[in-house]
Symmetry: C2
């Protein structure tokens, strides 16, 4: 057999890491459900014409073909793996519109695939957790306030560094530009989006080359420097002298979102008018999310409002959504030893085995523990008790149970304390019942 090596860009975790990732996903999912979001799952593949609707991603798609396909039988030839969960969700909404209740609050936690060149932080397969609200024809603004708060609440439950959600609103730059007499809003937005990459001088040069005056270019660059944790940004924008009804509307909406964020947790929301990613297709608020202290990781959670998430030509379905990059987040935290579970296996109790003839008796103890929700397994073989204890220790199993006709005993192998116990009533401390997700104690 050929030597087995990892595939670059396709991350896999060791069992205790997957236990941690899964605990994280369950915690996030629990918050989504507490807020009334329903789960959906879409197939991994979409017809290529669906996938190509977002032009800029066409380089990243994996197409399928059947190994044994012949000319007249390859009706899978036009299928590709989805590269996000938004395109499949939009298709799902159209396909099932008559059977869905609107407004639809849905979450979706699935793998996505992108044929990226492998490089640091670029995955070819990764897990995303999306929430969206979508309605028919119109969608009230208040969901643009609610959605980032739901995601922030989910993240706040995790033992991870705090997050900062950066806000912008398509209406602010668009209204601002229009107020300055600039018509080609999309081109200016795309140029401003290059700020971090090419710098102020170059962006200024590009804007002027695109037909803006020096003053217009200066104002556009000034706008992108504005940041605030409260509504102070409104006055800062107004001082730049542009005026337009759409600008007023955008400033008002942004102010409402940042105010709601401040009630939730000070410093959680930051208006940052340099955030321009996706402003060419989002139509209202946009979100990006920094993990504090890990800003160079990029946004772990992005989204926004789109007035036409989906449309069948007659009906349009506006939506607002936020997408958490689970793999990006846990990949970073695992890589820096910042996140772990309290033990490597679900097992709380290892039931010792005196000899092979006692397997049924030890199994009975384990069964009675499980009946009360305590994860238990029997030792694999009747080795010396010291070896059985080491078996538990290597996996972080906290308790070893010794069945005995004269009275069972259970040992906490961390303290060495051993006490009489009955499998029908003994309870471990609550914090030992299940492996728990914790910030790593072994961080460097």
């Amino acid at each position: 057999m050929a030597r087995i090596t990892p595939l670059s860009g396709f991350p896999e975790w060791l069992p205790h890491q997957r236990l941690a990732e899964q605990a994280l996903v369950h915690a996030v999912q629990d918050v989504f459900e507490l807020h009334g979001f329903v789960p959906i799952e879409t197939r991994a593949v979409e017809p290529l014409d669906q996938l190509l609707r977002k032009g800029e991603t066409d380089k990243e798609i994996y197409l399928l073909r059947r190994l044994q396909a012949d000319a007249d039988d390859n009706n899978d030839a036009g299928l590709g793996l989805h590269f996000d969960l938004t395109v499949p969700f939009a298709r799902y909404v159209l396909e099932n519109a008559g059977r869905l209740e609107f407004p639809l609050r849905r979450y979706q936690i699935q793998k996505v695939w992108r044929g990226e060149r492998p490089q640091e932080g670029r995955y070819r397969e990764f897990l995303q957790a999306d929430i969206d609200v979508v309605d028919r024809e119109s969608l009230p603004f208040h969901y643009e306030v609610e959605l980032p708060l739901v995601m922030a609440e989910a993240l706040s439950r995790l033992p991870i560094p705090p997050v900062r959600i950066q806000l912008n609103n398509r209406k602010v730059p668009e209204g601002f530009y229009r107020g300055l007499g600039i018509d080609d809003v999309t081109t200016v937005l795309r140029t401003i989006d290059k700020l971090a990459k090419v710098g102020q001088r170059e962006v200024h040069r590009l804007l002027v080359a695109q037909g803006l005056s020096d003053g217009q270019a200066d104002a556009c660059l000034e706008l992108a420097t504005i940041q605030a944790e409260d509504t102070a940004f409104v006055e800062a924008v107004k001082r730049l002298g542009s005026s337009h009804p759409l600008l007023e509307e955008g400033l008002d909406e942004l102010a409402r979102v940042v105010d709601a964020g401040r009630e939730h947790a000070p410093g959680l929301f930051v208006v940052d008018l340099s955030v321009a990613r996706g402003l060419d297709y989002y139509t209202g608020t946009v979100y990006e999310t920094q993990l504090v202290g890990h800003e160079e990781l990029g946004s772990i959670c992005s989204g926004g409002r789109y007035d036409a998430l989906a449309t069948d030509g007659e009906t349009s379905y506006p939506g607002v959504g936020v997408s958490l990059g689970v793999t990006r987040l846990v990949g970073r935290l695992f890589g820096q030893n910042l996140l772990e579970v309290t033990r490597k296996v679900p097992t709380c109790v290892l039931v010792a085995l005196a000899d092979e003839g006692s397997r049924a008796a030890s199994g009975g103890v384990a069964r009675r523990l499980r009946e009360r929700g305590i994860a238990a397994q029997v030792a694999p073989e009747p080795a010396k008790y010291g070896k059985q204890i080491r078996f538990a220790d290597r996996r972080g199993i906290p308790f070893v149970w010794f069945p005995n006709p004269e009275g069972d005993e259970v040992r906490d192998i961390r303290s060495g304390e051993q006490v009489p116990a009955d499998a029908g009533s003994w309870q471990p401390p609550a914090e030992d019942l299940r492996p728990r997700l914790v910030a790593s104690s072994t961080q460097p």
Copy 2:
């Protein structure tokens, strides 16, 4: 946009069905963890040479290629989607052997893909839930007793029809054939596997054509007719007159499994010596599982023992595993309206909205309910209360909450009973807290 139609073989569920599928998966997963199985997840793709190790499935593989691949840059060309979870698990064990604790008890719940021609009950994408125990060099027999019992326990917790696990053991037919002087065991096994398809006469003809005597062929066919819910099969086999140490060993092992099953639940395990699928690569006990009353669906849960799940040429890793076909199971139950959740959304309480200015107050009620684990959402708009109640009713949300400065009230919209309530202390009945998986009450 092109008309959107479902893709044959790629099932998708409506949100309430996904809620049911997810509840089923969580219940199964919970049992796996109570038994100390750790979760792993493998990437969706494997190198083609790994996938082709099981020769018989080569027609069903989906290969990947990047849409924009060029000649010198398509290093994904040799990748295909996995068609089961065993091949990736075997590769994972070899790749991570030095970092895993053996014996490794793992579960894995993931989608798999097969490029099948679409037809009734054949899926191109489906969800599997596998448990396996794998060890280094040798694996004790007792896991062959334990694994089907774990799966049976998981299935017994679900509101689905009962299951019957059919057992055979490779050593029984192999020892039996060898005792008759038949050497080409694999060819005979594969011929016997055609029984259901081509019938006794044709199998007899084939066996004789393969060089067996009339008497040998008769005996092989007789063996395959033996069924028993207890150890009576041992005598039935012995009456057929073959004798071989391997046969003795196989009969003893089968007897131990069926005995253990009887202790668990009478009728759960059935020895059925016609079960031959996979006997060419399994080396000990094999399992198939019928959903009682839905036998024509085929096995919903299959597996067995393989002495070389994985091998790197020096070390071999024997394993025993069982795989539950989640999509096959829920697809059947959804199709016949036999399984549902008690409501269509996770929401337990809809908080009514008197007017848009009360959104913060209603949101505060919802937050206090959620803080105590009660899923709550605010009505989307301040419609008439009758309309808000209908909003809840359509989704099966059992309670509507009416905030009121003079004292909140909550209404059970099923009974119409409305009582004073405090968001900091009110509790719904336990059965209303979360949507629960139930056998459908609307079955035809």
